[in-house]
Symmetry: D2
Subunit: 362 residues, 4 copies
């Protein structure tokens, strides 16, 4: 039976988005003979002047190895809270009804929403208002509990690991402490896994507050043993243990001055405050999100795209694809968005890091 | 309590062996204060003139990102069937008792054996004769059922995928069929996963015999649609469907001539026999085994190394470390070596490939 | 003044072809406002049924980092010797007049021919018959004397070097001799440069015949010093010194049997004939030609494309772009195709390799 | 004739330093039978308590593909201006005589100094005081006029190009302006070459001041043509044209506040001041200096190391190795350190970039 489905990608860039799109299009067109519409720039393409185009087999040719998303993405455009100009002022309004109406006028019957927490919440809201929706989870930080892992994460870990490999030689040649700031506001997965893979000496993550004093001791101990350099990987959301003074930072705050740089620079100043060693900071930033997905992410994203089409075949709406062990399954969208996947401070991965001699927070 | 343990690596090279060794040494030395001996060249280092050396923290410095194994490996040296010269002729003898005796004279109490099927069988045999043994599974083909996945495999898939990316442009520019032969005698995992990740058009694996006629049809169909090139990934162990004539091959056999090249060349000749298209073969061979492990394999191998030491701490011998879902666990060595992990012809991964429009055998 | 120009790419695939095309199009369209036609599949697109399409700024978007050529290439289609069916038989005819006529009917005034020896000779022939032509040299083997270096070559060297890095670990772990066959029928540049960069122990090239005996001695000497592995890089066109018997090969010839594999296998058999060491062969083949050009080749190819358009601006036809030292210049097409760039057996590069302890032929 | 020579590496880390060291050791030991001493941490290892060790063939095994320098480096330790404690205060003193005396006591007769401007000036100073010295130029920025190019530079360009490839997908998916800050205080080579190779839209370098207004126009023009993203590569030393107000910056200066971030952030603020587009900054920093040298740099560095030993064989002291065209030659150390290699604003490379549609400063 012929059908028209639509897909959008929301939130931050992530390697594998194009592989999901290709998986959806190839599976829907080749296998089922459906039409696929690509909504442009996430939910932004659904409000105001609608923007979408048909995605044919030709339009997805050659996109598997490419980063980014051919239909664009955006962090804006929440239909439940959309800025509308009223009497010259911007007001946040619920425009979801008109969005659903507009969506239907495109001829599409189902929406596949690819995105993180925010995107999936909106998708769930639209589903509750009657729109058939299927979700595909995307989180480069690996912080969604509803799936064991999702695409983009392993590529990010690989990029950070490669950067750590590069920085090792410089740290060692100059006898420096190299502080590397990586993504992870709430969850320290990228820091933890790339820290293990890239042979870090200390890993600072949100889930396990660190003591500046102990960090300096760990670095100093290495120096005493003849290793005159150290690599510290710090997640954006890392925090110090309660009660510990972070001098530099409060000094700045007293001056009412904006903090210089991110947490990486904070950590460098803390080390500079207790050890007489050269310290350098590298902030990997957007490098972690861009570029070609690795083989694993291409496969997982393709599987997710194919599975999303299968859910539509089976008319299982309000659900999200997910990886459990070796299998791609589906879970309720509602549950999917309700809890975070954080690093377990007592878990095997942290213990492994510690057994390898890496300080992980504390 | 002080202790001396020994480690050896057996069988073919595999990215991550050094990471296991480093994980064992760091964990044993740093955390437990034990000594670690490295047996050289697999079981070969245990028979005849014993060869081993102490592995200190210094000896494993910087080896995490490096391919190969610093203690060497070998496919020879089975103590239960060792070639001994008797009256000028080689005879296979069981020298396991003297090997166990020699092992004990080194002062080592436990042996960590890192290897595949063959190595683990020997390890199990020695365990049954009273030697405390812990196994670490290694199979670049991913064909051991006792662990979800093991180190080296993902790196191999990544290498093949990168090669397919390269070959795409040449195939496309020249309108050629490119046949790429990859590892996999019994199991087609590498072909299947890298074929999906590298956008192959056909994947030929041992588990699903292929029909030459259908292969040619698939390629021809692409040509009729305007895609004048195709990429065929073939595992070493791929086979044609029963009863189908493989003309070239039998012709050669009739001539009593050794087959030219591997299966990749067979497939190229088969395609050449039914389609008028230029065909080229690339055999990836040893490229798939060497070089730096990717981030995933470095982490998994490190976890395996650390876990092996934990098993020794707990005196759980005759067991093998293993990955189950997200967790590193341990399983009985005996069970571990008894069954193979093959691609399920009706499984989700094969179906995904087919939904993407890839021919997978048949 | 408005103008229409055409471009074609001929001969084997080579990283950087797309960068030349993009350089030509961007420069011609943006800077001069000209139209650019892309002839498809080299000279094949000019004979018989003409095949070409307009190349706009849009059609070259995103192609800089991609291997291959978006307009296809071919080794066939020589207008001076084209197979034409006469009375049921194929006859080679000179169809160059009708090709020039057909070319003019497209509205294009000038042809940019990108290719190697063969392509440039045809281009020169057409120029002599009155067609305004500009040449861009392409040779992945680096064997054209008329330019210091051309695009694609450095990428090939980089690919081989990366492969050698991978193979080192396997060779070392298994104590093997690894024979790596690389491109280079007439010139040994790829083998020589990648051999130096990838730390080979012996490099066999066409310009310096090698002695099997000395090769075995070199490998054996390493073994005696404790390095139980060796890496031998061999160019396709490598030859043994006069008078030396190559036993295996002649044995086969006596049997009237086709040679097994390429020169890599010959060398492996030669080593197997004089040393008791495991030997393995890797043939890099098409991997060396495909995939994304490295930064250097992207820049050089872009410069060549821009320069080709400049030559047309200046109406300097019958000439070829070329790199001399740091500068892109132009040379007479006639001279360009007359002599080869071979490795100088007494040159600095060979001497450097020898000073590093590498055996280079002999 | 037996001889002892010494080598040191000074200044910032640079891919290829280990390849120079290996080239020197292999050539000196294998070919000449000399001893080689490695001075640790640049000139720091020569003052105060001398630190050096013998470099054997074993100590340089496997270092060719590795970044950094196995003998360490430092930006400190100028013997002509060394901080000495006098009456509790640090005073800069000329300790060069005692350094030369100490150097001779090691038994070494000649010093090979590998480094940039600063290191080579010190080396020349010691030469003028009678120490036999040979220089090897190192400048990742490519700003030494005395050599066409030196090792490390191409690897840096490759790293930046790869980062630009990654960032393209994110910029495009989010319709952002991505500002990428790269090395280059005085010379814009890295920005210029990687900008061309990585398909930048604007390149800002020290040699060609840029106008903020024109930069915004260039980005806006792209947007009007449908390209809703831009990539701007900016060298550390880029400057705006005279008289142009850089509002944000002066505002901060009025507040007496330290500038936030580097020039990348300045440029982002400038664009934010004139265009309503999302802007993001990535600062590549130390990533550009570390890690494995590419094939080209490994070869060039090896050639430089071998040539340095040749100069010693010929007793040509006070000279520096250098690349001229395709040849490694030697030049007077005195001249080598006197002038910089800057980008020619009217040169072919800048013109090529402009013909490709890239704004280069102005």
């Amino acid at each position: 039976m012929s059908k028209t489905i639509a897909i959008l990608t929301g939130g931050g860039d992530c390697p594998g988005l194009n592989a999901v799109i290709r998986g959806v299009v190839r599976s829907a067109v080749n296998k089922n003979g459906w039409r696929v519409l690509g909504i442009e720039d996430g939910f932004e393409g659904l409000v105001g002047e609608m923007r979408y185009r048909e995605l044919t087999l030709d339009s997805v040719r050659g996109i598997l190895p490419r980063g980014g998303t051919i239909i664009g993405t955006s962090n804006r455009g929440n239909p439940f809270s959309y800025p509308v100009e009223v009497n010259g002022k911007l007001e946040l309004q619920d425009v979801s009804d008109s969005v659903i109406e507009a969506f239907r006028q495109t001829g599409a019957e189902v929406l596949i929403a690819v995105g993180g927490d925010g995107t999936l919440k909106i998708a769930h809201g639209l589903y509750e208002k009657g729109l058939p929706v299927v979700g595909v989870p995307k989180t480069i930080d690996n912080d969604l509990r509803a799936t064991d892992v999702t695409f983009g994460y392993r590529t990010a870990v690989a990029i950070v690991t490669e950067a750590l490999d590069r920085l090792h030689s410089t740290a060692e040649s100059h006898h420096r402490v190299m502080v590397v700031e990586v993504m992870g506001r709430d969850a320290g997965w990228i820091a933890l896994e790339s820290g293990i893979a890239g042979s870090a000496d200390a890993i600072l993550i949100p889930e396990i507050p660190y003591s500046v004093e102990r960090l300096c001791q760990a670095i100093d101990k290495r120096r005493q043993r003849g290793s005159r350099f150290s690599i510290v990987v710090v997640a954006e959301g890392a925090t110090v243990v309660d009660g510990e003074k972070v001098l530099q930072k409060s000094a700045e705050e007293n001056l009412g001055v904006e903090r210089l740089g991110g947490i990486g620079h904070d950590v460098a100043r803390q080390i500079g405050g207790c050890l007489d060693m050269e310290t350098r900071v590298v902030t990997l930033g957007h490098l972690q999100r861009g570029g070609s997905p690795d083989a694993y992410d291409r496969i997982l994203a393709s599987r997710f795209g194919v599975k999303a089409v299968e859910l539509i075949e089976q008319q299982k709406y309000g659900r999200m694809v997910s990886l459990r062990g070796q299998n791609v399954v589906d879970v309720e969208l509602e549950k999917a968005i309700s809890s975070q996947n954080l690093v377990d401070p007592a878990g095997e991965l942290v213990q492994t890091a510690e057994s390898l001699g890496i300080m992980v927070g504390r």
